[in-house]
Symmetry: C2
Subunit: 162 residues, 2 copies
């Protein structure tokens, strides 16, 4: 079923590039300071316990630091956070700047005010899968905000769903 | 951080309802016949091994049967499959009808021709999380098709991203 000379990995990558996804910004405080990364893989697992999943590639320093933190904050982004999403999605982008408006929660995690929802989580299972890790996390608290237009990640770009 | 009288579970459910997602139709052949369910939680994990994740609630018979199958087929849907997505997303909807155009792969899985991509998978880890299961699956083969307009699941409805 594979095309000539095209690996399953290449076909899979091309297929998922066009699979639309919401975007989250996951942050944590580490001994080296705040870390954050965007994830298009955040999904709900269930309500009892309240749990979600996501995957990260351990190739980036941010992911390793994030996975070593006791708790982290999953911000569900919308169109109002398009600029921040772009800044965190690229290597060397602006992160945790004053202009972005970060606060620190009483529990220690970096929090971006104004997002629709921020979910404070603790990992309950981290499974290495090659160079990536698949994470199952329990949701401890939800910080609710107002809704904005949906932000979609597709074809390696951000789109707004009006 | 929780509102008065509103549980973390209720806040989480409301937050994820507005988190946009692509939609997949996962099928398998079981001793009782073909089973299929829609999933908004399918996400790529990595390329080596080629792997993806998704979650299902075991409350439905389809999910239990699917998880007991040796292999299954993850169809990444687009706007051309809107009707089929709706039929599989509701309890008692039309499934595996002649009008939907199902075929059976030489390897045995029910295949919906005309989708952008169908990924033949084998579960490598199934983790019970309350009444749900979080699945990590290796991708064995990819059947590629043409692209259509993106289909988004948000706020318990399907939307097309032109």
């Amino acid at each position: 079923m594979s095309g000539e000379g095209v690996s399953v990995a290449e076909q899979f990558k091309a297929a998922f590039r066009e699979h639309p996804a919401g975007i989250a910004l996951i942050t944590a405080t580490t001994p080296e300071g705040p870390v954050g990364l965007t994830a298009s893989s955040v999904a709900s697992v269930g309500l009892d316990p309240v749990a979600l999943t996501f995957s990260v590639t351990r190739a980036t320093g941010s992911a390793g630091a994030l996975l070593s933190a006791d708790t982290f904050l999953v911000h569900l982004l919308d169109a109002r956070q398009l600029a921040v999403a772009e800044q965190f999605a690229v290597s060397g982008g602006e992160r945790f700047t004053e202009a972005q408006g970060w606060e620190t929660l009483p529990t220690g995690e970096p929090h971006l005010p104004g997002v629709r929802a921020a979910l404070r989580c603790r990992a309950i299972q981290v499974t290495p899968v090659g160079a990536s890790s698949a994470v199952i996390a329990e949701v401890l608290d939800v910080i609710e905000g107002d809704s904005g237009e949906a932000l979609i990640y597709i074809d390696r770009a951000f789109r707004v769903l009006p």
